[in-house]
Assembly symmetry: C2
Homo-oligomer: 275 residues x 2
C-alpha cells in the first residue's frame, strides 16, 4: 500500500492511498479520513460509496464531512467506483464501464475479470482498512450517493449485522427498473433478471432483506429522479415494515452542494448507531 | 451578467456568474454564495480572494464555508485571480500571468491593458454585487489565501473604512521581499520598487497604513513559508501597534484542507465585526 497524499484537516489526516487489488486485478485508489484520536483508540468506520463518473476524489475534495467526522470521531473511507486502466474494458458511454462499476461482481465477458467491486468493497478493502488504520471493524456503517447509494443500500441490506447504519443521498433504489441499472446489470450480470435482484435494493427488500432503519435524502430538483425513483423504496419499506426516513429536499439537485448540505446530518445519524 | 450555474446549498444558493469586465477588457467569472435570508434583507459581504493558479472554482468547490455563511448570514464573493483568454498576455511560468494577477493594476506592457485586478476587485465587481445581490455594501470584509491573502491585506490596509474585518490564510505578506512577488510586481509595475510599496502589506504598514485588527492562520508545514514570511508581518504589526492574531497551525500545509479547517473561525471573526 502506497500513500499518494496526506493532508492535515480538522485536526485529523485526510489520506489518499493506492494498492494493487487482487479483487479487480488493477491498482485501486481510495481515501481515508482519520479524525483526531488518542493513541491506541479504535474508531468506527463509515464507508462512503460514490456515484457514476466519480473517483475517490470527488467526495474527498468536495464533501463537507471532515468537521463532522472530527467532532464525532469517525473514520471515513471513500473507494473508487470501478477498476481503471488501459487494459480494463471500458465503454464510450459515460454511465457504463470505468467509473460505473455498480458495486457488483461481473459475471459476463469482458467485464468479469476486473469488475469485481462487490468483493473489493465488501472484502478486500475492509481487510486493508482493518490492518492499516485505527479502525474498529465491529463498528462499521455505510452511505453513498446515486450509484453509490445503490451500493450502500445493497451492501447494507445484504450484511445487516456488519453495517450498523445505512443511509444514502439520491440513491438508485431499483436498478432493475430504470435505464442506468438495466444497462449496467444486464451487461455485468447477464440477461437473467433474477440474477439482478440481489443487486437491487427494492428487490432485496421484496425478497425478505431487512434493516433496522434507513435514512435517505433526495433533492426534489434532482434532474435524475426518473433513474432514482425514491417512491419505489418508500413503498417497499412500508410493505416490509422497514423504518425509512426519506427527506425530499426542496430545491436541491444531484450535486455535491446537495450532499455536503446534509452529510453532517447523516454522519450524526450514523454516529448515534455506531456507539 | 449571465448565470453560469446555481445550486441550492445549506439553505441558500451557490451561484457562478460571468460578465464582460470593463476593467480587464475580458469576460470574468465569479461565484457568490447567498445564504438563506428574509425577503428584502440586506446581508454583509465577505470577499474571498484566491491564490496562484486558482479560479473562482477552487474555493467554491473545495471550501467548507457555506455552513458557516448560512449560520452567520454572510454573502461570500469569490472572484477569479486574473483576466483570462487567448488574447490576454500569459507566461509559461505557473506563477505569473493568467492565474496570477496579484491584485494590482499593471502599468507595464503588455500587461497594462488587461491586468487590472485592483480596479476589478475594488471597484467594478463591488458595483455589480451591490446591483444584483441582496448585499449591504456598508458591511463588507475581506479574506484571502496566499496571493489572495496578499490581496486581502493590501485592499484591507488601503480601505480600512470599507472592510470591517481583514484576515488571511497563509498570505504573501511582503511580495517586495520574496521571489513570487518580485517577479510579479516587477513585471506588472516596473522596476521602481517604490511603486510596489502600496501593493505590499508590510510596506504599507511601514508607510503608515493601520487596521483595527488582523487575523492570520498559517500552516507550520506549509512548503511555501519562504515566500510567505509571516514573521515579517508580525514584526511590522508589532512596530505599528496593529493587533495581529497570527496562529501557526502545526502540521497544516498550503491546501484547501488547511483553509477549510479554519474558514469557519475566520467567518465568525468577520461576522462579529460586520454586525
Amino acid at each position: 500500500m502506497e500513500q499518494v497524499s496526506g493532508n492535515r484537516a480538522f485536526g485529523g489526516t485526510q489520506g489518499v492511498w493506492k494498492h494493487a487489488s487482487t479483487a479487480t486485478g488493477t491498482d485501486m485508489t481510495f481515501s481515508v479520513y482519520v479524525p483526531p484520536h488518542e493513541d491506541g483508540a479504535r474508531l468506527p468506520v463509515v464507508w462512503y460509496l460514490s456515484g457514476l463518473t466519480c473517483t475517490h476524489a470527488n467526495v474527498t475534495e468536495k464533501g463537507d464531512y471532515r468537521r463532522a467526522c472530527a467532532e464525532l470521531g469517525l473514520i471515513l473511507v471513500a473507494p473508487d467506483t470501478s477498476p481503471r486502466g488501459q487494459d480494463v474494458p471500458d465503454d464510450e458511454a459515460w454511465d457504463f464501464g470505468q467509473g460505473a462499476g455498480f458495486y457488483v461482481d461481473a459475471t459476463q465477458a469482458p467485464y468479469a475479470a476486473n469488475y469485481r467491486m462487490w468483493t473489493y468493497v465488501a472484502e478486500e478493502l475492509p481487510a486493508l482498512i482493518a490492518a492499516h488504520f485505527p479502525a474498529d471493524m465491529d463498528r462499521q456503517s455505510i452511505m453513498g450517493h446515486s450509484m453509490g447509494g445503490h451500493g450502500a443500500l445493497t451492501l447494507g441490506l445484504t450484511f445487516p449485522d456488519r453495517y450498523r447504519a445505512v443511509s444514502a443521498f439520491a440513491p438508485i433504489v431499483a436498478p432493475g427498473q430504470v435505464p442506468w441499472g438495466e444497462k449496467a446489470l444486464g451487461r455485468y450480470l447477464g440477461p437473467d433478471r433474477g440474477d439482478w435482484r440481489r443487486h437491487d435494493a427494492v428487490a432485496l427488500i421484496e425478497d425478505g432483506a431487512r434493516l433496522a432503519g434507513l435514512m435517505v435524502d433526495q433533492g426534489a430538483a434532482d434532474p435524475f429522479l426518473d433513474q432514482l425513483q425514491p417512491d419505489l423504496l418508500r413503498v417497499a419499506c412500508e410493505a416490509a415494515g422497514i423504518p425509512l426516513t426519506l427527506r425530499m429536499q426542496p430545491g436541491y439537485d444531484h450535486s455535491y452542494y446537495f450532499i455536503s448540505t446534509f452529510m453532517a446530518d447523516h454522519l450524526a445519524w450514523h454516529a448515534a448507531r455506531l456507539g
